[in-house]
């Protein structure tokens, strides 16, 4: 009695899919989630990890099986089978990766949108005019009469429209530190303090070379570029202290360019602001 090979293939495929899903959803490789964006990111990660595990184990298994099953045994002198190709098979394994890649691409677009990545960066001008706004602001600036945002934002993750207005914090990166300025309270700090559950908008600029603002627990990173302001918006969810890491080579002390973001409960944050606001808003 031979078990039909189609049945074996089906079983192997099922085991592979289940293993991939199990690994993807049970092997935790990521740091803790501390922003509203992190669980969304981790969903994407689990999907990619599952698909990747299936593919890798499948190909590894196929390779090892072939090497064992089709190894040259002593006394075998002849050649293998003269198979030069199989068009239906090749169409199949062109189509499957294409579909998988398309699915992954659309899914990650969805994720990116949920992260706020598709929000307009220069939302102080009307939606359709942002390109023109960029062109104008290049030389003259100020024609719009806005004045609040000094320059065009070149990249990053903008603020998604929401009921709660975002809390702006100005970030200046320099060799080898981040400086945080709270425009409302006129506080300057070397650490970033933010309230939980409120959108934060980091308006970032650099004075010397390119740096990158990265908080692994937020799953967010944005380069801070001299001459090209960028933004990074997020909502912290989990009170605690997390590292801020510079991720772009910025000179000899690049590895030491670190800071901390402290996520407060909203009440604690107000207390922190109160405690650190300059006494009489010194001129």
């Amino acid at each position: 009695m031979q078990i039909p090979s189609a049945l074996i293939t089906l079983l192997v495929g099922m085991i592979l899919v289940l293993t991939g899903l199990w690994v993807g959803y049970n092997v935790d490789l990521l740091p803790i989630e501390a922003s509203s964006n992190a669980p969304v990111y981790d969903d994407l990660f689990r999907v990619l990890f599952s698909i990747g595990t299936m593919l890798f184990l499948g190909i590894l298994g196929l390779l090892i099986f072939s090497l064992v099953r089709f190894r040259r045994k002593p006394g075998q002198l002849g050649d293998g089978l003269a198979i030069e190709g199989n068009l239906p098979l090749e169409i199949l394994w062109t189509a499957i990766p294409a579909v998988v890649v398309l699915f992954v691409g659309i899914y990650s677009y969805d994720i990116y949108e949920r992260m706020g990545g598709m929000a307009a960066l220069n939302d102080h001008s009307a939606m359709g005019h942002s390109a023109m706004h960029q062109a104008v602001a290049g030389d003259g600036g100020g024609q719009e009469g806005e004045g609040a945002i000094p320059a065009v934002v070149w990249g990053g993750i903008g603020v998604a429209p929401s009921a709660v207005p975002a809390l702006p914090v100005e970030v200046t990166a320099m060799q080898f530190a981040f400086i945080f300025h709270y425009p409302g309270a006129d506080i300057i700090s070397g650490e970033l303090h933010v309230p939980a559950d409120r959108p934060i908008e980091l308006r970032m600029k650099a004075n010397d070379v390119i740096h990158a603002f990265w908080v692994p627990q937020f799953r967010l990173k944005q380069d801070v570029i001299p001459g090209q302001p960028t933004v990074l918006s997020f909502t912290a969810t989990r009170p605690g202290s997390y590292p801020i890491v510079c991720a772009e080579l910025c000179g000899p002390y690049h590895g030491g360019m670190r800071s901390t973001v402290v996520v407060h409960e909203p009440d604690d944050y107000d207390a922190w602001i109160l405690k650190n606001t300059p006494a009489a808003a010194t001129a």
């Binding site: 490789l29 196929l62 050649d79 003269a82 062109t94 398309l102 990173k221 991720a247 772009e248 080579l249």
Partner: protein, 560 residues
Amino acid sequence: MTLAAPSDLSSPSPAPRGLQPEGWLRYFSFSLDHKVIGLQYLVCGFLFYLIGGALAGVIRTELASPISDFVSRDTYNQVLTLHGTIMIFLWIVPVVNGAFGNYLIPFYVGARDMAFPRLNAVAFWLIPPAGILLISSYFIAGAAQSGWTAYPPLSLTTPATGQVIWILSVLLLGGSSIFGGINFIATILKLRRPGLKMMQLPMYCWAMLGTSILVVLSTPVLAGTLVLLSFDIIAHTGFFNPTLGGNVVVYQHLFWFYSHPAVYIMVLPAFGLVSEILPVHSRKPLFGYTTMVYSILGIVVLGLIVWAHHMFTSGTPPWMRLFFTIATSFIAVPTGIKFFNWLATLWGGRISLNSAMLFACGFIVNFVFGGITGVALAQVPFDIHVHDTYFVVGHFHYIVYGGTVFVVFSALYHWYPKFTGRMLNEDLGRLHFLLTFIGFNLCFAPQHWLGLNGMPRRVAEYDPQFTLLNQVSSVGALLMAVSTLPLLINVLWSAWKGQPAGDNPWNALTPEWLTSSPPPVENWIGEAPLVQHPYGYGQAEGLMDVKVASGRQLWDGGNR
């Protein structure tokens, strides 16, 4: 029966070669023989590989502890810049293109030499001075400190001498690469033996054609960019200097317009070499020749429009992040086709698990892993977390070391008998594979976790919670260094004492094996064989194509 190829006119074979030295001195001369030039590239590249490897050793020693304690911070940045530049421009690109390309392409098209032998020699002889210049910059004034990417404004503010020498050296190497690319395109398109059609060429020719198109299209962009960067440094122009109105992100676009295709310049030839090695040692035709060709061309086209995925966290608007996500993801399709075709080539074969095969299979495992992390990195939201971290370091070493360097070793075991007429020792070869495979995975697999959990790349110091895995990685690097010893011993010992190989130890059908080992000057005594079925394995003796039989059996007496 002589073939009136242009090379015949420039160097008549029976006459004494006059000014050209004979014997081992040829390898130190301005030789025009493509085989000599190929071996010059190979040995020269390997010497730079040893230097680049020593620099990697410095990096891994520094990272064995979380504080900056082994070399100074300035030196560390110089070391990582030199490591990247040497490994890419002086080891991988010259070896997979220059060494194997020059050695094999004229055989594969049935020519006696490359289309432009003098240009070929010039292209090689640009490399040693460029490499020496680059390394000497460390001793003159300190090497460049801004990484192999040389992003301004960092490259404008770090010490200028080292950076300018770096630019000069990369310009020379880029020139060498362009000369080589032009030569390969001309040779493959115009020097084919009459009767040999494009779709009958061994796959490595297609890989080199695609690679050379990428070289010729994209390398000039890098050259122009670096010239502008050097103006910014020397003459204080403001192309990329934001304080003078320059734009630093434009540099990144121009740089990656070359440097992403450069990844394909490093892996496409490796794909070609694997396509030659697998059929021989599994005694089967290459599966899906036509789709292999089209997937190479697909990779070439797509490879030109994916560069900005290196800039997802830079000054890039949302639409650009999305476009390059989709384009990059789709490169997985033609690449996937190639891997499935290789697996199908193995399926049903009579596989000899020798060192060449082991390294080729190691390549498949490593590259599939690196490819999967690559598709993940192509997704903007994924990349925003891990960009510029050790995840990326792990990923690209799986591509360029686990992928291309494994193939270089595989190719060395495969073609060494052709180069020297002697076999490499199998036991030492397997030891080499085992050490390399274990050391490589030990070194680079943990780096993915490090990146996901918060360790950025290019740092000399890091959060102490990452110490253990960094030490594991350093042990892996030590194993990789040790693995070089069996290879070196094997290559040197076998050159004198190795088992004589005969002309065609693998019973291969591609034309380089249908001549003596090592081959004579101008490759064949008499007419070049016409090989229209380079992968005609597995056919029953009686069914053999008459044309195949005539070319091959002319040289090995009809016995397989």
